[in-house]
Symmetry: C2
Subunit: 368 residues, 2 copies
């Protein structure tokens, strides 16, 4: 037998810019053009974003190849949509010199980012998030993917954006329920990384719900720097990045078990309360902490109890398919105190028995 070794060369550190402002959408195209003068632009957006007028603000009279996802929302987050986008790019004779511009919410960003990651083995993507969820979370960090019929993000890739443009003015037109649900990720950022930020949210909830742009710029800044710091430390989610999954283990399962009747943020709110109850079980919670969290979530108007029609065994079955599952059972991110994740033996995702999870789910059923 002979042996050879093939070196896979290292990749140098890079960085990307996040611009945050109010009313910056009309200047995004020029900024992208300046950064990628040789690339042909291809926009991916959805029908809601078009109806809200964001696409015409971005285009500012220009003409550009555009794919409009229809219908908007989680139900289009599947491989068929990705295939349709790739084939639209091919029909437009686009090659590797393409810059994908993802204009929209988390679903648009995930789909467009994944399409960019796999189109002709990868082209750059610029994220232009227009929802509370996408601005707080999904536009930053390079996670892309679409769901299968069995689980969320079964298909995906790590594909960092080439740049991110956050215009908080785009939030003015967001549907109220979606707007509120998306803020749950901001609450999560406070819980896992910054007591100061959690307190800012608690004390500015009215201004946030009134969509005051100055307050929203502060929120965006907190979100980007917290999430940015975490993904810089652990871009491929080997360990530390898992703290961003706080509330997501139960949350994802609840979201899937509800057949996506619950919005992502709504399901994560339930997941955050579930994590809080596990922390109480574990003796990790200082007195009154869970009540404070629950109060903030209730002010946002998101659910903090399990809808009675959700079968628990369906939730636990989905959990077995969790991406982070080891031996068919996921690990959990828990917080030790406000603003700090609990860490066991250097691990931020820790084992929690099925019995504990089942007990907590039982406690959370909404009996009206």
């Amino acid at each position: 037998m002979q042996e050879l070794y093939i070196k896979v060369p290292g990749v140098a550190e890079t960085s990307y810019r996040i611009a945050i402002g109010s009313g910056l959408l009309p200047s995004v195209w020029s900024a992208a053009e300046a950064a990628f003068p040789k690339h042909k632009k291809f926009i991916v957006t959805d029908e809601n974003v078009v109806a809200a007028g964001h696409l015409s603000k971005l285009l500012h009279g220009r003409d550009a190849s555009t794919y409009v996802i229809h219908p908007a929302g989680e139900q289009s987050k599947n491989i068929d949509t990705v295939v349709a986008i790739v084939e639209a790019m091919e029909r437009a004779y686009l090659g590797r010199d393409t810059l994908v511009m993802a204009l929209g919410g988390g679903t648009v960003g995930d789909i467009a980012g994944f399409a960019a990651a796999i189109f002709k083995r990868g082209v750059p993507v610029v994220q232009i998030p227009t929802t509370t969820l996408a601005q707080a979370d999904s536009a930053i960090g390079g996670k892309t993917g679409v769901d299968s019929s069995i689980s969320k993000n079964a298909f995906g890739a790590f594909w960092h954006p080439a740049a991110v443009f956050i215009d908080v003015a785009t939030l003015q037109t967001q549907d109220e329920r979606q707007y509120r649900a998306g803020l749950v990720e901001s609450v999560k950022h406070g819980l896992i990384a910054s007591e100061e930020y959690f307190e800012f949210i608690e004390s500015h909830l009215d201004a946030i719900l009134e969509r005051d742009v100055n307050t929203l710029e502060v929120v965006a800044r907190y979100n980007c720097s917290i999430k940015g710091r975490v993904v810089e430390e652990d871009p491929l989610e080997k360990n530390k990045r898992r703290i961003l999954n706080y509330g997501h283990t139960v949350g994802h399962a609840v979201e899937a078990a509800s057949d996506y009747a619950l919005l992502h943020g709504e399901a994560i709110a339930i997941g955050i309360v579930a994590a809080g109850l596990i922390e109480v079980e574990r003796g990790l919670s200082e007195p009154g902490r869970l009540d404070r969290i629950r109060t903030a979530l209730e002010k946002l108007g998101v659910p903090v109890k399990l809808p009675p029609n959700l079968a628990e065994d369906k939730i636990t079955d989905v959990m077995k398919h969790d991406k982070k599952a080891v031996d068919q059972w996921p690990r959990f991110v828990l917080i030790g105190r406000l603003g700090q994740v609990h860490c066991e033996n250097g691990q931020y995702a820790v084992p929690v028995g099925r019995d504990v999870v089942e007990k907590v789910l039982e406690l959370m059923i909404d009996n009206g």
Copy 2:
């Protein structure tokens, strides 16, 4: 407006092992087990490989989750097959701790490698190529992907294997036409990188066609070291790696225009002759070189002329969709002398006018 920068950390250099031998298939599982003790193995193969007995040699009495691609061949190299594989992994409750083992030809390796690249944002893949094409070319270098209805590898990712095991004994059962077509990539390696290797092939064609395992081990060694050297220098095909596309610009288009009636290697043989004729047009060819190349290809029994039923405009239309196309027209890799690629202004893929390509295609039509 506020600005933040997010660092994307660099990735350290790694390397992977290629083991080459005759009869090593039954020991591959243990070797993979030793290298990935914590990973659950998932095999992707196809019906031809199973029929040839390779799967049972690999399993050696073991039981393992396996996806068998049906039908074997290029027609299964599409996104539907990838979706079916990912869903099969999900149904087997596999998570990120999965090692995909790709056992088969180039199609199996491309499909399984791409499925591994996008399953839950990426799991490792071991390539176990069983054909002349895969052993010479596709198993090494990390290119994975599947075709769309419009072009080849429209969907894809760079996903380096975790290890490669080449058992030249598996070639004994390969279909004669496939066997010969796959050797064209070996000829290509000689042409672009090593006159010595081209001469070895010329002088050992009988032993190669008789499938002498000792000769095939030498061939495998040459192929791996030539391809390995190129991909080490330019893993993401920014420039130098393009030399591996010698013969592929016309070749891919001919392959697609034939609706895959021509095998990949057969189409590449036509593409190599087309490149040779362009070189003659350009004054890049020393006298007799093209004849020598044509003679070697003819001994392999692969086509060196365009089948008369292939419309030229169909070929040139497919070329506009080439992944490497700039302004809807691809660039060409040409050789300056045997074993050395022609380089213009530091570029290995150079512009060639449509008129020249059309003239050459005209010359190549087989009028019987």
